[in-house]
Each structure stands twice: as structure tokens, then as C-alpha cells.
């Protein structure tokens, strides 16, 4: 690891949450407009973040914070792997660690809402994990490398060889970002059957850090989308933003489904589409 790499990583770690927070602010504004509301200022997520940080520390048990930190650190780890163009498959596993850490944190308290949210989150992971892994395999079949640097050196954008993989990745993104119709691990609205699900028992600093992790994840996933269109890089970024807008639209026009339905559809359609794509990649000599 050279000094250069460390510098890049540090800058990225500072910039990513700013970007993520901003995007979340824009998301809230657009969502509000779609619902005929005026909406909060663009910088509202940052105001929320600092307000949460300033709150009195209240906890249900002594260990919750550990899991929150695990969730955050491993998300940052995955993000840094992305920035330094490391192994894409391992990146997915590191992300899984981050997810499992949050699940364990939610299960560590005796709250039924938190626990049910955690169970549903596990189901989500079971649904999207194979699609993410298959995506990596597709990328390998196209570029002959698992390293992100290999994708960037590839002579044509991945989307030409992996259109279906890209679509199922977008589909999975809705689950990963916990957008409607797949927001059943932590529901958008605090007064439904699940309260706030997974995050019910987190408060103050813990909640702020969860928010921060979500920003890192958001930037990472938009980055992964842009990989499919890399070269020239600005096309990738435009498509990534467009995809994010599409996610917001879907979020606003759909109602929550059951997790059983989600697992079934994801395994059949998501994995199916990715597999079909990969099969033809195998058949191309």
C-alpha cells in the first residue's frame, strides 16, 4: 500500500458521506415534490445527523454500539476496496459482514419489532446475495478479472455484454437501499405494524452512525452502477444518477410487498435473469 493509495482512501472517506448525504437530501426533496409537499432543505440530512449526534446517549444494552460500529467500519472497508480498485467478489463479502453486524445488533435487544425487522433483513440478504455474487461472475466472464481495476481497463463498457445482469443488479439495489416495495426490514413510516423494524431500538449517536453507513452504501452502489458504463466516466455517473432517480420513482409509486413474495421473485427473476446472461457469456467462445 503506497502513500498515494492511503491519501486517495482518506479523501474518499471524507468525500463519500458528503456526497451521500447530499443525494439523500435531494432524494427527500424529490420525494416530497412527488407527494405534493414542499419538502425539507437539501442539507436536512446533515442537520439531522448532527442533531442525532448531540442527543443524550440512551441504550437498551451495553453492546449495541459495537454492532453499529462494525456495520459502519466494514461499510467503509468495502468502500475503500472499491476506491482502490480491489477484488469485487471480496468486496461483496465485506459488505455482507457489514449487513450481518447490523442484523446482530438489532437482534441483541429483546424488542420484538427490532427482532422481526432483523429476521426480515436476513431474508433480504438471502435474496440479494446470490444476485450480487452472480453479477461478479458475469463481470469476470466479460473482463477476465475479479479486480475492479480490470473492469476499468476493459476495452468496452460492460453493459454491452451484461445487460440482464445490470437489470437484476438494479432490481436488487431497491432491496439493498430498503426502498419501497422492499422496505419491510425498517419501514419508512414509524407508525405501522413494524414501528421502525430493524432500527427501532437504536437512538442518538447510534442512529446517526447508521445514517452515515447508509450514505457510504449509497455512494458505493451508485459507483458500482457506473462501473457498467465506465469509459467515458461521466456517462457512468449520469446513468448512475438516472438509476437513482428511477429508484426514487419506484419508491413512491409502489406499496410494500411481503418478504415471502420478495424472496420468491428475487430468486426466480433476479437470479434467473442474471443466470441467462451468464449462460450466454459461457457460450461465447
Amino acid at each position: 500500500m503506497s502513500i498515494n493509495n492511503i491519501l486517495i482512501a482518506v479523501i474518499a472517506i471524507i468525500v463519500a458521506p458528503l456526497l451521500g448525504g447530499l443525494l439523500t437530501g435531494i432524494d427527500r426533496r424529490i420525494t416530497a415534490r412527488m407527494q405534493n409537499r414542499f419538502g425539507p432543505p437539501i442539507l436536512q440530512p446533515f442537520y439531522d445527523f448532527f442533531k442525532l449526534l448531540g442527543k443524550q446517549g440512551i441504550a437498551v444494552n451495553q453492546t449495541q454500539m459495537v454492532y453499529v460500529l462494525g456495520h459502519l467500519f466494514f461499510a467503509i472497508g468495502a468502500f475503500v476496496m472499491f476506491i482502490l480498485q480491489q477484488d469485487l467478489l471480496m468486496l461483496m463479502f465485506i459488505l455482507a459482514f457489514s449487513g450481518v453486524s447490523l442484523i446482530i445488533g438489532a437482534m441483541s435487544v429483546r424488542s420484538p419489532y427490532s427482532k422481526i425487522g432483523a429476521q426480515r433483513e436476513i431474508m433480504q440478504m438471502m435474496a440479494y446475495e446470490p444476485v450480487l455474487l452472480l453479477m461478479v461472475v458475469g463481470v469476470y466472464k466479460a473482463t477476465g478479472s475479479f479486480m475492479i481495476s480490470g473492469i476499468l481497463e476493459h476495452h468496452q463498457p460492460l453493459i454491452f455484454s451484461l445487460p440482464l445482469v445490470f437489470l437484476s443488479f438494479l432490481y436488487v439495489l431497491t432491496i439493498k437501499l430498503r426502498k419501497s416495495p422492499f422496505d419491510f426490514a425498517t419501514s419508512h413510516h414509524g407508525h405501522q405494524e413494524l414501528i421502525k423494524g430493524l432500527t427501532t431500538e437504536f437512538s442518538g449517536t447510534q442512529l446517526a452512525l447508521l445514517e452515515l453507513t447508509d450514505w457510504f452504501d449509497l455512494v458505493l452502489f451508485l459507483g458500482l452502477i457506473s462501473l457498467f458504463f465506465a469509459r467515458p466516466w461521466w456517462v457512468g455517473i449520469i446513468i448512475a444518477l438516472a438509476s437513482y432517480f428511477a429508484e426514487i420513482v419506484i419508491d413512491n409509486i409502489s406499496a410494500r410487498v411481503t418478504w415471502q413474495w420478495m424472496v420468491k421473485i428475487t430468486w426466480v427473476v433476479g437470479i434467473g435473469a442474471a443466470l441467462v446472461n451468464i449462460v450466454w457469456m459461457y457460450l461465447i467462445p
Binding site: M1, G57, I58, A59, V60, N61, Q62, T63, M65, V66, L69, G70, F73, F74, G77, Q86, D87, L89, M90, F93, I94, A96, F97, V100, I103, I104, A106, M107, S108, V109, R110, S111, P112, S114, I116, A118, Q119, I122, M123, M125, M126, E129, P130, L133, L134, V137, K141, G144, S145, F146, M147, G150, I195, T200, E201, I271, L275, I278, V279, Y282
Partner: protein, 661 residues
Amino acid sequence: MDWYLLLAAILLPALSAALCFIIKNQKVRIAVVSVSTLILFAVAGGFIALMINSPEGNIVFHLDEGILEVISWIIKGFDLLLFSYIAYVGLKHKKAIVFVLSVLQFIPWALFEVFGVFGKVFEPEKAFVIDNLALIMIMLVSIIGPIITFFATGYMKEHEHHMKLKVSRQPRFFMILFIFLGAMNALVMTDNLSWMYFFWEITTLCSFLLISHDGTEIAIKNGLKALWLNSVGGVAFIIAIIMVNSSLKTLSIQAISASGMQSVFTGMLPIALGLLCIAGFTKSAQFPFQGWLLGAMVAPTPVSALLHSSTMVKAGVYLVVRISPAFSGTILGQIVAIVGGVTFLGASAIAISQSNGKKVLAYSTIANLGLIICCAGIGTRISLAAAMLLMIFHAVSKGLLFLCVGTIEQEIGSRDIEDMQGLFKIMPFTTVITVIGMISMLLPPFGVLITKWLAIEAAVHQPLVLVCIILGSALTVVFWAKWIGIILTMSYKPKFYLEKLTVSMKASLVALITFVMAASVGIVPLYNQFVKPQVRAFKIADKQDLGGTGMGIWLHKVDTAVYGGFASILFFIIILALIVAIPIIANRIKPSRLKPPYLCGANTTDDEKGIEFISPGDKVESVVVRNYYMQSAFGEEKLTFWVNIVAGAIIIIMLGVVIGL
């Protein structure tokens, strides 16, 4: 020096076994076990030192023709005893199939070894060859095995107390344990296939004796199941020996392994290799032979720990990995990979529906063994490295986890996962170790996950296998995450008191968790020192390389370009930071800042437990949340049937293919 080590590895356990059996005093037994543990550690250390100093990367023991003959006849004599004893067991328990399978082994064995009907028996003159693969196995057997045995000294006392025995049966128990260890050491060191067969049969018999140790009806039933399923493997093994002898004109295991590059993959050899694989499948409890390993959990916990981690099941994968260079890149290799992949997927899926802790561990063992066999079948340098690394990581982690569950079971009187809710408050010491053990089974940067990652990257050229591994690894996360979540559930507790455990149990847990951490943190030197030389020594066509440099493991193409890699050490720094953070965070929170969880109404009491609340209508309701087990999708009976059929079909296809080749 070399010879002393060899004799110590095989005969010392035999001596300890005799001592344990003859001297029935508890204190003496503990002393014998402790001393043997230390000596076996020293033996493993001695072999490591020898290997590091040996320029060729293996240690060869030549025997004079005269001595060879004598030992051969001694082994034949014991073979005969074994057959008779197993047949006697079949008669005694009125289990016809055990008797029949024993006779089926005896007939070809006698015709071949004693009467020479199938031509001359080519015994290799290098009686024992220890290369790095054998060394890895010796380390597992002679380090983890004794630790588990040592754990058993504390455990069995409690166990017999629970069983209310009048006369202790511990002498018999420890005798069999030590024989088991000695046989395993011999099994991995010998280069003679027919000697290996003898030690293989000893482990089969020992596993029967250990599983049925408690003497209850269910114990004997499951023990017999282990005996007959493994005898199926034994039949395949003896037929394979005869075929190898006549096709390769030698019984040297090294020669079998090297035969792949000599383009002799026709005639009897593929059939022999296929049969040896089937023998490996039975020993390693692959679908459809998995039944015996699941039944084995009725035995006292140290037995399950031993069978599941370093001995017995590892003998099966050892054999498959050992001969895998011979079928690397062939159709047989591809089918073996599919058998492993299907087992990995099926066992991971069934594990989701299980709430019995030991059963979850058992299915996870089967899954991981499947992955090892799958890697052996893929047969590239990278996949074989993954297979060997997984053998190491799985053995330490699973040995630890079984001991943990055993400890938990003695304390709370249940092995049901749902009963482990809030375990952290009752047994903080065991819980922390258990959780680290579980995390080491499923998350990066720990070793097991690294091998899974290597397996996926190695399997990209076999789509069917790939899909099995990918789906299986997603399912793996589910059952582990559920379990970890349950045992870490807790309400506020002002002060933690470490639970009282006997010294031997505590020491064993600490020793094993140290090995788990050390192996994962030190994956680079571990790989470079033991696995890499072995992978390079295997005679296979594939030349892609796995490099252990800098902070992690890197995959190289033939032109040395890196196409994958992971700097695992860096992530251990994050883990370390978290471990340091735990006590700081836990102490910072003031009791007044702790609140009970939100329930669907007012909590009944002011304490922080949050188990009951007052519902509308002023009724007191208690909160019960259970994990999802999804019986309808992943139910054991339902899935076992289908996975058995699929796996059975693949094995029949495999037999058809090798016969047709």
C-alpha cells in the same frame, strides 16, 4: 530422529490407550491424557521442523523388504480381526447389513491379499511418505485431537454424573479416543493403499464404538448406521485397491496421485479412482451418505467434536484431495465437483430449518466437506489450495464450536438454539468464544470465508458448480446470523461474572480459539509454508498460481497478472479496533441511560428486561420472538429426500462414466 517421531505418532496413542484402559483411576487418567497431549504436540512440532529442514519437501521412510513383509502380515492379521469383530457386531445387534458388508469386504480382501488370486501385490517399499498435505493432517490430528481429548477429561466426569453411572466407563472411552488418534496419524502418513485401508477400517470401527458409547437404544442404532454406511465405503475401497494394483502395478498412493499426467486415464484406473471417491464420500458424509454423521450427535460432545473436525470426516476429504491430481481436468473431476457442490447447497439449505444447535453444526460440517470435495474436483492449483486451507480452517473452527455447544448444553441443559436466548448474560466467557468461532465460519476476513471466495473464483469455469456454491453461501449466512443473534440477545446487566468451568474445558476452549485466530490472521505464512509447496508438487496441468505476498492472498494468471486478491490482514485491524472498543463502550454507558425496549404497551416492571407488557384491557402479556425456520421451504424431511435422489443419481452417473471410459 525421524523414526522416533513416526513411532511416537502412531504407537504413543496406542500406549496411552492401553494405560487409560488398564489404570482405572481418574487422576492417573488425567495425567496420562495431559502428558500424551503434550507429547503429541511435540510430535507435530517435530514433523514441522523436519519438513522445514527437508529440501525435497517430503520425508520418506524406506523399509527393508524383510521388515516390510513382517509388518504387512501383522496388518493382515489385524485386518482379519477387524472383519471378524465387525461381523460379530452385526450378528450381536442382529443387523444383517453390517454382517453382509463385512463379508463382502472379507472375500475380495482374502482373495487379493492372502491368496493372490488377482496377481502379485505390489507393496511400495516407501512405507511412509510425509509431504505437506500429510503434514497438515498430522497437525490437525495431533494438535486438535489431543485438545478435544483433554476437554473430554472434564466433560466426561460431568457427563457420567448426569447419566448416573455406577461404574465409570471412561477407561473404555479414552482408550478408543486414543486408538482413533493413532489410526488417523497412521492413515495420513502411510503411502501404501492397503495399509491405509486397514487404518480406514479402524476409524470406522472406532466411530461405531464411540457413537454407541452411552449404550442407549438410540446410540446403538446410530452407531450401527455409521458402521454400515462406512462399510459401503469400505467395500468400494477394497475393490479400488485391487483395480489400482492391476492397472498401475503399484499400491503407492503417491504414484496414484501422479498418474494423471501420464495419460493412462482409461481401463480400470478411472473406475478405481471413482470407487475411491465414493469411499471418501461415505467417510465425509456427503449426500446421500450423510445420515451417519447426523446420527453421531447422540454421542458425548467430545466424540462429535472429534468426528466432525480433525478426524474421521477429514480422512474422507484427505483421500479425495490426495488422489485428485489423478483426475484433475477429466470428466470424473467435474462430476466429483458437482457432488460436492450439491452437498454444499443441500446441507446449507437444510441447516436453515434446524433449531437443534448440534444439528446445525452437523449440517454445516457436511456443507463444508462438500465444498472441500468440490474444490478437489475442480482440480486447479487455486482450488486445491482452497481445499487444503478449508480443511485447516474448518477443523479448528468446528472443533471449537462443538466443544462450545457441549459446554453450553451442560450449563443450560438444552441444545436448542431458542433456549440459548440471553446466553451472554449467563455464560459471557463461553458466549464470546462461541460467537468468534461462528463468525470465523462465515465472515471475512476469517479463513473459511477466504476459502469460499477462492472456491468461487476457481469455479468460474464450471457454471453448474458455481451456481451451487453461490446459492449455498447465501444460505450459509442465514443460519449462522440467526444463531449468533440469539445468543447475543441481552438486556442490561450491571456487572458480568465469568461462569465457572473446569480447568480442562476452559483451557481447551482458549487453546482452540487461539488457533482459530492465529490461523486466520496468519493465513499468508500458513499458505506459503504448508499449502503452496504441496500445490506446486501436485502433478497437474493447470499452472495458474496463488501467491501469498504482502498483506494477503493474490490470484495470478499464467503470465503472473493479478486477477483477484484480498489483503485480509488489513481487515483484522478493524476487528481488533472493535474488540478494543467493546469494553470502552460498555463501561461508558451509565445505568441511568439504559431503557427497556419498546413493546406494544407499557412495560410491566421498571427493570430493563422487557419481557412482559400490559396490553389493552390491562392484561399482562409476555413477549416471545422466535427465529424464522421456514420449515415449509427448507424442512429436513422434504429436502433430504430430494437432495438424496439428486446426489444418488449423480453418483450413479459417475459410476457409469468411469466404467464407460
